[in-house]
Amino acid sequence: MSTVVSRAARRRWASVAGGTALLVGSLGVAPWAWSAVGVAPTSASAEAVVERALASGDVSYSATGESRGSLALPDVRGFGGLASLVGGTTRTRIWWAGDSHWRVDVVGLTGEQDTYGLPSSTTTWDYETRRLVTVAGEPSARLPRADDLVAPRAVQRLLSALGPTDRLSLLPARRIGGRDADGLRVVPGDARSTIARAEVWVDRATGLPLRLRMVDRAGDDALVTTLSGVRLGRPDDEVLRPPTTSTARRELETAPDLVARLAARSTWQMPDELAGLQASDPAAAGTPTYGTGLVRVAVLPLPGRLTREVVANVTSAGSVSEDVAGGSLVRVGSSLLNVVLAVGDDGRHAYVITGLVDPTLLDELATELLASPPPLRYGR
């Protein structure tokens, strides 16, 4: 088909090209350019930024969140959506009125799971199963939930765990979701941590953490979580109230997941020290956490039947069992989070040992536990 090239044609095509450029500029380039415009450096010290972030738990806001994890963990039955939570993208909507009154929705294409945090309980609504589950109290240990990966919570957890050897420095301030944010770099002081560095951005006006980027030893992003569309102010009470639909299956639980149930029923008196690491919470004697700073290891005793199931799940996903003195070890690794399953020869002692630490440290804890199995807890 031939085309009559004329001045009018050129004018028309030029106006279309100009309009397209204007559109692309205003919708695509302008927001990017605005976010790249420099933000004045902060006058606060790195320690002051940490303090403001830790004190921001009661800042009320509504926002959307996104966390992207690249931790390749096998999907083990009983461990819920842990693998997809830390190994995929999770989109959330958040309404926060304070640490004991909040709601976080995990938004999927065809449904959503909403978690309501209340002063003495947590209620979860799952649209797809139509279950409304209320868990009374807060267990001493539980699996991570989507609300743990929301930027402010994840950052506050990270910063509150910092030890005296961990190093802090300021990063150039930048704009996150249209808000001026002060940057902070955290470098673990202990080389056994699998975190090479963590980068945190904190809202300059409120101290609310807006973004966390955790980089592994290979220099790759292992976890990035960001808050966007932040609107300050207390959300409506209506939004923070769990649904009362009559069509839901209502359940009242004392433990939210398998880990919490196991932690509550743990029969072993775990030692106060393992591989040179002190138990950081001796009160949780059944499921203690060992270590300080960013090198912390959680130990969860497993009952026999579940152990066989978990080991079968993990080995079918490619992990290999290795015999050691007193039992065997099965290692599950990702760039950031490592897990060792330690199974005693007596068939009674088995543990999940996990942390953001080098696998050799987990091996040390495991072999020590298998070599000297803990006694039964007093009174059981």
């Binding site: 044609a9 028309r12 279309v16 309009g19 397209t20 559109l23 294409l109 959503e112 939004v239 769990p242």
Partner: protein, 270 residues
């Protein structure tokens, strides 16, 4: 001119056959659900379909969810691809333009006709879905209609959300129609123009699901197509819906501008 095109649209049997076929699949699904009472497991199958047993009032949304990924885009792309190329391939374009009819006016009339077809198709699926849902699957006499957040939807809530959903899906289809209409001005083959639009649809769908395309994902034409599901959340998150309208508007403006620039300066020989 617009009236002529609309009259042609309404009087053409093909229009009603394609709309009828669009409505047929949701009706078949409603019949099967009603007879077997086996809905897809939650989280599987078309959007909201797991919630329609006993909640026929939700079926319009589920019906649109059934036809949205494939059948509705095909119908719209074929209609838009036919707009100019169909006249050219039938040899009527040259005669149409010597009536005399301004090319811009003709293009606007074709565009209005495509938008009318799109809205007609979406509304027809929603209305047939409602009738089939209420008659075959029952109303919410015993089961409350709820949002994805579990809160109760009143009939008024359900009505305005469904209305906005119809408009939103209709506008999303107009974005696709703009692609096929632009292609329709540069080829004499209606099939090529329709397939071109569908190729854009498939490419966009593949890229949206690709993490590596994250930097351009928000600008792809199908990125926000499923954002209508947000209308059934509580509170309604308007962010993706607004972004979806803006992205489609961008494609409509640019592609119709290109269609206008090309068609008004084109040497029409057929």
């Amino acid at each position: 001119m617009i009236r002529v095109e609309l009259r042609k649209l309404v009087g053409r049997p093909r229009t009603w056959i394609s709309i009828g076929l669009l409505c047929l699949l949701p009706v078949v699904v409603a019949v099967l659900l009603s007879v077997t009472e086996i809905a897809p497991r939650p989280g599987q199958g078309p959007t909201l379909l797991s919630a329609v047993l006993g909640n026929g009032a939700l079926f319009p949304a589920a019906a649109l969810g059934i036809v949205l990924p494939f059948f509705l885009p095909i119908a719209v792309a074929v209609q838009a691809g036919e707009s100019v190329a169909g006249e050219a391939s039938a040899g009527t374009l040259r005669y149409l333009l010597v009536r005399p009819v301004g090319r811009t006016r003709l293009l606007v009339a074709k565009l209005v006709s495509i938008i009318a077809f799109t809205l007609l198709a979406v509304v027809a699926v929603a209305v047939v879905g409602y009738v089939a849902g209420v008659t075959l699957l029952g109303t919410s006499g015993t089961l409350t209609t709820t949002t994805l957040a579990g809160t109760t939807l009143t009939p008024a809530d359900l009505a305005w959300r469904t209305g906005v959903m119809v408009l939103y899906i209709g506008w999303s289809m107009v974005g696709l129609a703009a692609v096929s209409m632009f292609l329709s001005t540069i080829t004499d083959s209606p099939i090529a123009a329709a397939l071109g639009g569908l190729a854009v649809l498939v490419s966009s769908t593949v890229l949206v699901a690709l993490d590596a395309a994250g930097s351009v994902r928000d600008y792809l034409p199908t990125r926000y197509w499923l954002a209508w599901v947000d209308l059934f959340r509580d509170p309604v998150p308007w962010g993706d819906l607004t972004a979806g309208v803006l992205v489609q508007t961008g494609y409509v403006v640019v592609l119709l501008g290109a269609a206008w620039a090309n068609f008004t300066t084109r040497d029409v020989t057929s």
